[in-house]
């Protein structure tokens, strides 16, 4: 079924890192030296020396807006065994959440990460819930070991764009 996370592993799913609106990416409770870019950005996320770490306590709230509407299919979260995230809640299209209102809405999906998933196995999500996603909020509730600091090495999102008429692709076909 799902092989190791290659960019088009699952039937046309694309790595959505290209569609992330970087100016709006926010992460609450991140440590100053270990920021969200280390886990999200191309290049940084594959570097095991760089990781995202939490600050005051073990929770993290990551807000990722996209440049266009996307459908989210699966997610890869890589982290160390002990400090990697355990319970992860995903909210679609909820702007600027805070730790105080994570309990106010039901999450679009909840994932409890196993050890294999922490090593890089993609987690298939409830596709029907993520059909027209403008922004994604990832709430890391706790970590595997129950420590004060949660560490994340990589976060990768896979899916497709709703707006499939990518103008560049269109040109290529016409050039035929």
């Amino acid at each position: 079924m799902a092989s190791a996370a290659s960019s088009t592993s699952q039937r046309g799913q694309v790595d959505l890192v290209d569609f992330v609106d970087w100016s709006g990416v926010e992460c609450l409770n991140q440590s100053g030296s270990h920021s969200i870019a280390n886990a999200l950005k191309q290049g940084y996320r594959d570097d095991d020396g760089l990781h995202l770490a939490s600050d005051s306590d073990e929770q993290l709230l990551i807000y990722i807006p996209f440049t266009q509407m996307i459908k989210l299919h699966s997610i890869v979260i890589k982290g160390p065994e002990e400090e990697g995230p355990k319970t992860v809640k995903l909210f679609s299209n909820k702007e600027h959440m805070g730790f105080s209102n994570v309990g106010d809405y039901p999450p679009s999906d909840t994932v409890v990460l196993s050890d294999e998933q922490l090593k890089g196995q993609p987690v298939i999500l409830k596709y029907v819930k993520f059909q027209n996603v403008r922004s994604l909020t990832i709430f890391v509730e706790d970590n595997q070991g129950g420590d004060d600091v949660t560490t994340v090495h990589k976060i990768a999102l896979f899916g497709t764009t709703v707006d499939t008429t990518n103008m560049k692709d269109l040109k290529k076909i016409e050039d035929h």
Partner: protein, 383 residues
């Protein structure tokens, strides 16, 4: 220029009646708040500021974060002093108010004025600080008024718990000569991070150092009134340029005058040889001055302070000569052309020996010049 939403927590508890800050703690606090509001709204027009009380009738938000300075200043009217201030509740309410700010792009900041003793222990304050940090809220504390044991340390520990890359500050202000607001102006609470210090610098110049305009070229702050400052600078430069041009012109005039007016130049030359040794520049300068003044319209010669009366006489003659027409000029030349007259003048001059060969040669050269001059003047008269 950081885009910020700020909530200011006022302490209006009973301890604010004390007069150790003039006129009383509460008034000093209000002045400081007014200044802070002004600074925040000026540094970025999209900044919003809200105000709330910690004591009095209870923890109340007087005005939610707004960029309307008038509203903010008006809401502090008629506040009552009384009760005890509830620090933890106030900070939590402030956090909530910031959470519901309209522009989510604004950074969140809380400024707390703590003038009364704190009844909470360190742990609670630290956990509160951590919570603020988790929600990315910066905290500034102004510690003034009461200073019982432990208050500064408690507040310090709170700020260090909140602090995330130096965005939170604490200031301790003991009672003394300077007003609360004056001391605050120089702190990072007021000046923010690098940017926004333009207003602070202006306020510092205007308010803190009573009256002295230290630092600004023309006594006008470029930030407060840029057009006026620019106009002053331009007019200063124009004046300087004009003076230079005038001096240059005077120098040119001086050189031409010396050539044209032989008689005057003869005596001045003699005086020049007398006071020679490098002092020629002084003479030239004085001559320039005289000419400049003649151009400005006959000012009394007393302005030129000169110890040598003969020099004064010579200068006067040159000035008059510049004014009068060629006819009288030739008369003057004739007078000076008289050998005996010149030699008598020269003999009266200290340090000039008429029998000195250089002086004699000068006189000789003077004669043919005079003749030439007379010819010229005759010709002009014939015209």
């Amino acid at each position: 220029m950081v885009l910020e939403a700020t909530m200011i927590c006022l302490d209006n508890s009973e301890w604010m009646r004390n007069g150790d800050y003039s006129p009383n703690r509460f008034q000093a606090q209000c002045d400081a708040v007014n200044l802070i509001c002004g600074a925040k709204t000026q540094s970025n027009p999209e900044n919003t500021v809200g105000v709330m009380t910690m004591a009095g009738k209870g923890v109340r938000v007087l005005v939610t974060p707004t960029s309307d300075l008038g509203k903010i200043l008006a809401c502090m009217h008629g506040l009552e002093i009384g009760g005890e201030s509830n620090l933890t509740a106030a900070i939590q309410v402030a956090q909530l108010a910031l959470k519901h700010r309209q522009n989510k792009r604004q950074q969140q900041r809380i400024i707390v004025f703590v003038g009364s003793p704190i009844k909470y222990d360190k742990k609670i304050l630290e956990s509160l600080g951590k919570k603020l940090k988790k929600n990315n809220v910066a905290l500034d504390i102004v510690d003034f008024g009461e200073s019982d044991d432990g208050k500064p340390e408690k507040l310090e520990s709170m700020v260090s718990a909140v602090n995330n890359s130096d965005s939170s500050h604490i200031v301790h202000i003991p009672p003394g000569q300077n007003a609360l607001s004056d001391v605050l102006i120089s702190t990072p609470i007021f000046t923010g991070e690098e940017g926004g210090s333009g207003f602070a610098a202006a306020a510092a110049a205007a308010a803190a150092t009573a009256g002295s305009m230290g630092g600004f070229d023309f006594g006008v702050d470029p930030n407060v009134d840029p057009e006026l400052a620019l106009a002053l600078r331009v007019s200063m430069e124009e004046e300087r340029a004009r003076q230079e041009a005038a001096a240059k012109k005077a120098a040119e005039e001086a050189s031409t005058k010396e050539k044209g007016d032989a008689g005057a130049s003869g005596s001045t030359d003699a005086i020049m040889t007398e006071a020679d040794k490098g002092a020629q520049d002084d003479e030239a300068a004085l001559l320039q001055q005289a000419l400049a003044m003649s151009m400005d319209d006959a000012k009394p010669m007393s302005d030129i302070s000169t110890t040598d009366p003969d020099l004064a006489l010579a200068l006067q003659m040159s000035v008059e000569a510049a004014k009068e027409d060629s006819g009288s000029q030739s008369d003057m030349n004739k007078v000076l052309g008289d050998q005996s007259f010149v030699s008598s003048i020269l003999s009266s001059l200290p340090g000039v020996d008429p029998n000195d060969p250089s002086v004699k040669s000068l006189l000789d050269s003077l004669q043919p010049e005079q003749e030439k001059k007379e010819d010229k003047s005759d010709k002009s008269e014939e015209k």
